[in-house]
Symmetry: C2
Subunit: 282 residues, 2 copies
């Protein structure tokens, strides 16, 4: 198997490690705009060779593990350069605009829109973990537009990495993910900002922050470049989710202002239901 | 040592376990308005005997590990009933109003206002862990109003449990904790609500929620009764923190709306600084 990976960040480097673990006969070619990430990945045998962007023929899979705006701008010209047997798979966190950018491309069948629900707050190839995808969900969108035999190979390959496959409409994907993932990141970044703006003295944060603050603010460590790109691509859904979030906070604030303990309790008891839902994760 | 604990929740039961571990000669008397919590604590030897609220003489320490509103309403009458050698210590998450409620009490010296920066999202004696306080901070407020010899014994006792002591003005404590702890809880509860209101289908949350959502929404599993009481007691500071949080979200939303990637990156890079601050925790 010959695999090319564009983007040697957490996702690109982790999938390479796992592919190399489960396949004996595999060569992974990797590229990153950051030369240090390429050198690091070569030295740690995360990849076997540097990928030449001018020579994209004869790959089985080409993974795009780069920011969503770069996927959108590069995907069409990448499809121009590949051979019939290659399947290009993107791992962007939004799907509609990416699918749309190649909907009329003559090689649309050679593209699969995918979103691995996996990640940590860390970035770069040094953060790679070969078990990152174990038992995680891989969401595939608009699979009806992918060549069926290439699709079926890809599904088999993802399952061999230990992933569970779900399919979803691209528009639905982007709307749901705005709530379930993108909103979490913004709420966490803004929590970090609000606390840091207020607390000049880092020692006070040290002393008073328990594990509650730590877990809630964890996502505020995430990569700005990756997330600014996602926020802009999924702007419409994210703004809708932020408006609802702000509305909910304002309503909750009113309950606090009026010392309405009964309604605060009722509200929080309902939200405690998230316990049962979260049991399904992991 | 003879210890009484009012409130056999996570905090009360955990401190009992730890006190019994580090002291050979100790009897712990526990009370909870929930009889099942008393029975459970007796059966698991978390406490030795049920505490009789009419017999509060001769204790070395009486810990109040009950909701802040109950501390405020009970503290004065508890001080009425104790002997000179007893130190009453409350573990409420707000401190100013509690201190204020007994500022003129003749036995004010027998009271110490404390806040252990420790906890999990779980509640009740079954969630107790004897290592809950290991290397955690115990914040003490208005220590100048506690009898010096009782204070010095209490500090020695908390250190024997593995805790680090910090002192702080009660008003400062409440203002800082609104940002560093209370705001985290509200942002997490509201994230849970926004996602649950939107997603009728729990399967979608299962499939799309990665570890990011899980950690950000973790605090939404917390006890409604405990937190509604805290939110109302610390209303003024919490509303201030919520207003700043909402303002920050609205400004961030404008950057997304105008696709201002440069400013989004600059903003998030600054917030990434929380990484260094969080290294100090644990």
């Amino acid at each position: 198997m010959k695999v090319g990976i564009l983007g040697l960040g957490l996702i690109g480097a982790s999938i390479s490690l796992k592919l190399k673990e489960v396949n004996d006969d595999i060569s992974v070619y990797g590229f990153d705009k950051n030369d240090q990430s390429v050198d690091f990945s070569l030295s740690k045998q995360i990849i076997d060779k540097k990928l030449d962007l001018g020579a994209l023929l004869d790959f089985d899979y080409l993974f795009l593990a780069i920011p969503v705006e770069s996927i959108k701008s590069e995907l069409s010209s990448i499809l121009d350069k590949i051979s019939e047997k290659t399947l290009v798979i993107d791992f962007g966190s939004t799907k509609y605009q990416i699918c749309n950018s190649v909907s009329n491309h003559i090689k649309r069948g050679n593209f699969l829109a995918a979103h691995p629900i996996a990640g940590t707050e860390f970035s770069g190839p040094a953060a790679a973990k070969k078990d990152l995808f174990d038992n995680k969900v891989m969401i595939l969108c608009e699979t009806e537009n992918t060549n069926p035999s290439l699709l079926s190979s890809a599904i088999k390959m993802f399952k061999s990495l230990g992933m569970n496959i779900k399919t979803m409409d691209a528009i639905d994907h982007d709307r749901h993910i705005a709530y379930v993932s993108h909103l979490s990141h913004i709420s966490s970044f803004m929590l970090g900002k609000t606390v840091m703006d207020k607390e000049d003295d880092e020692q006070t944060i040290y002393d008073m922050a328990g594990s509650g603050f730590e877990s809630t603010v964890r996502l505020a460590k995430s990569s700005p470049e990756m997330w600014s790109s996602i926020f802009i691509e999924n702007k419409k859904n994210i703004i809708e989710s932020l408006d609802e979030y702000i509305l909910n906070i304002n309503n909750f604030k009113k309950l606090i202002e009026s010392s309405n303990q009964e309604n605060l309790n009722t509200e929080m008891k309902k939200i405690n239901g998230i316990k049962e839902i979260l049991k399904g994760i992991n």
